[in-house]
Symmetry: C2
Subunit: 592 residues, 2 copies
Amino acid sequence: MTYRPPVDDIMSTLKAAVDLDGLIESGLYDGLDEDTVRAVVEEAGRFGSEVLDPLNFLGDQAGSQLADGVVTTPDGWKEAYQKFTEAGWSALPCPEAYGGQNLPGVVAMAVCEIWNSSNLSFGLCPLLTQGAIDALAAHGSDALKETYLPKMISGEWTGTMNLTEPQAGSDLRGIKTKAVPQGDGTYRISGTKIFITYGEHELTENIIHFVLARLPDAPKGTRGISLFLVPKFLVNDDGTLGPRNDVNCVGVENKLGIHASPTCVMSYGDGDGAIGYLIGEENRGLNTMFIMMNQARLAVGVQGVSIAERATQRAADYAAERRQGHGAGVAKGEMAPIVAHADVRRTLLTMRSMTQAARAICLVTARELDKAERLTDDKARDGAAHMSALLTPIAKAFSTDIGCEVASMGLQIHGGMGFVEETGAAQYYRDARILPIYEGTNGIQAIDLVTRKLPLEGGAVIKAYIAELQQVADDVTASNQAEFGATGQRLGEAVGALQEATEWMGKMLVSNPDAALASATPYLRLFGLAAGGSYLAKGALAAAREADGTGDAMMLARFFAANLLTAAPGLAQTVLTGADAVLDVAPDRLTA
Amino acid sequence: MTYRPPVDDIMSTLKAAVDLDGLIESGLYDGLDEDTVRAVVEEAGRFGSEVLDPLNFLGDQAGSQLADGVVTTPDGWKEAYQKFTEAGWSALPCPEAYGGQNLPGVVAMAVCEIWNSSNLSFGLCPLLTQGAIDALAAHGSDALKETYLPKMISGEWTGTMNLTEPQAGSDLRGIKTKAVPQGDGTYRISGTKIFITYGEHELTENIIHFVLARLPDAPKGTRGISLFLVPKFLVNDDGTLGPRNDVNCVGVENKLGIHASPTCVMSYGDGDGAIGYLIGEENRGLNTMFIMMNQARLAVGVQGVSIAERATQRAADYAAERRQGHGAGVAKGEMAPIVAHADVRRTLLTMRSMTQAARAICLVTARELDKAERLTDDKARDGAAHMSALLTPIAKAFSTDIGCEVASMGLQIHGGMGFVEETGAAQYYRDARILPIYEGTNGIQAIDLVTRKLPLEGGAVIKAYIAELQQVADDVTASNQAEFGATGQRLGEAVGALQEATEWMGKMLVSNPDAALASATPYLRLFGLAAGGSYLAKGALAAAREADGTGDAMMLARFFAANLLTAAPGLAQTVLTGADAVLDVAPDRLTA
């Protein structure tokens, strides 16, 4: 059951939902063409299925191990990482000036999906390094950039994000790690950071930590946090490695999933303090970090797509092979493959359509980030920045919820075998479960969506987006394609529900913000469904324009509309009328 | 974070949803009184929290281990089992003639919830033994009953159910295990059985296996399956143990969860064949086994309640203790307990209300089983048998889906700590995942509900049940209690949706059975929501009649109606209009 890179699904999403042709034509991507994009995706698919996927189960079983401060990744990991960097995959979306290939984010995210479908634990390493590269490229001094970027882009060194401390998780106000200026432009860092992905490993000769800390005189709260670059080994002026810095891995978590990805407890400054270099301005670290976080949030959303895709493939294979029960076209006394059972088909269609919907949401978000970075017209660029800001929490939270749900359905299709680890379905279920948590829990994404993103530009951003979704519903209805069934109607109802819930949110943010917070999670789900259903319908419309039939796109759009978009009006009702039943309950009534 | 037995929640469910007072008054329970029931539940709660709960995490970490055919349970298991039987817990609902206490099923199921909240892996052992006891008591010969029942009821020996073979899981037609009559009333059994819970262990001196097998001349299919009792050690005429029988544990599965419960591969007849004794008639084994399965299906539903309750308690404790973010009444610069955040309260309310709803469904099902067993009027008894048959798939599937969902929410409330095994939330998430699979997957429960249960008595059973639910909605509306908010309306809409979907199912079963199968799963969910919402409302109505306020019952009923019953109309729409989008897809379009 080898991973099959879903090249056609990715390419059709890039063309229909993302409008790759239009982007290429507009010159946004400097002469990139569709064939090149396809070739990159195909090549990544080969690498993922041939090199990374075969290590996935073994990596889960072995895990990364800590002994005497040294973390050892599973057998084969180091060789795979070597091949990965040699093939240039770490440099994909990075600036050319430092050795990158400057490929657009939409392509990088399509490829990111493939790494994480093949091997989520492996994929995390380049994912976090990319976030660090982005922050350094955007805010680092030229000296820091020249010293660190080329090696990080080539993959010779990896990067980490050090935010969380035991008392400071979702709320970074509580950060206590100290940074003391040494008068020579450097700082001495001391403190403990937890949940540091690939905080220590032996894949590369150096690891570059990006660490949030407080200066001695820093203001309280989030406006007193600064960002520092802290290399594991100091770097000499000639670029060679100097002495070991005062940073150590003192623990690796025993986790539910992603066993091969070492989640480290990092101790800074057990001696004189780790030497660190300021990135960006003092006390502005959180703003700098947000650059890493936005990219990372989208990438985590993509991981949701990845695990959903992989779980779906494995379940489909099993459903074709496992025989139980009667089925049409099967001789009496023989058993039918379980895919013949309508309930199994319903499950597989749910899995496939949810996956494709989430994929589209993520890639559209990536497009908006590309536009926000590359457009030259200020207004258009700002518009894209706002749109990407609006969509990032949906991409992160909806896709990762989907990832868990689809992984669970995949396990269920296996019956009793799904609960046995050797089948592999259970690993996806375990691995997926971190996704709604890290890079901002999905509850926080919902709050971000409602309180920060809906108000953007006085509500004009969400208004424009809903109009886009409505246009798709209208197009479906106008297309008069019988194959769509009730898709146009269901989509129209879903968009209408989103519109109604959005208006309610707008009012509540003014008159009763707690109510907006109480309804944020069902609102986000509604948003994701309406957006996802719209992109699937867009895919079906595009397919209907092709000569060779509407294929899977129509099948998925119709299924999603008839079976999943039906939840939209009820979600709107929950948003509009459910909050009081939450807010009237005093916190201590829910705790013993 | 010790388990706190939810005695009040259980008792209020028994009183409001189950009508314990009425049952006692009617004489169904031979002089049992409420105080006795409460005392039993409280005492079980003490045993669960003091003896079983402390072993739960350790048992998960250690697991049961197989070496040289011997299965060793985790440290403390044997002592706990000893205490369990000494306290008489294994004899609770069993016939007095063989040493049982003859307590009603509703009490046994309430207590079953407690064992499985405390320790799901432990709870499985008495759960399966109980099923075996029921089958033997109902269908065994007097000689078999006299030899085996007293020891099984006292807990000196445990029982197992041996149905599944590698090629025969959901579809038992494929069973190949052989039983050859020896002419002396015994049979020689040979074959391999998988997924045998507590198939081997060292807790007791003997294990009594209940095994499905085929006679040499048996008809093909399910009408050629017989049920045999196969003891691990043969029993001499004087009741002492004789030689070891030809049955061995040859493997223990490496599973996602319930690590301490050994899931065994059992090999029968490596030598001359294991000696077995027929239970019931030849070729009627499946009917006999169904007695065990119905009881076991309800008990598995109860396990869903158990894990949901435990996960909710742990999450509530964490939400009270963990501090992040701002909150009303918290000094500036300080952090609030996360339960202060509306989104966390929404999650906890979802968890609590779903748990209490599923608990009511299970206990009402247990009541109907009690009535079916104890009523003397034929018609009333048959009516109860039909009602219990209707509700069993809801109790099993809805409650176990809820179990997984609530366990997942509990993990989410812990944030990053939830993904770390030492917190314990991850174990509930892993343990819960077997529940929608074993004792008939939830997909099969949905099919059973739609194809076998809805047609009972020409549809009169479901009709009467829906009328019951409607009555509760009417009572809520008539109560004119402002605290209910829109509960009456939401419940009325949900019952209306169930009614509409049920009518559609009735038509489809005649004209297009595949459509009924394709919509079975969303139909079951709709059923569970309407039933659960109704029982919660019944609880609130009962509480409103009390002098001391409506308490948690009203809070949960209102939340469930305003936030979860809102899904009902959309589910009905899915049932009515979603099936074609499944059935039009040929199986091979979903497999590569």
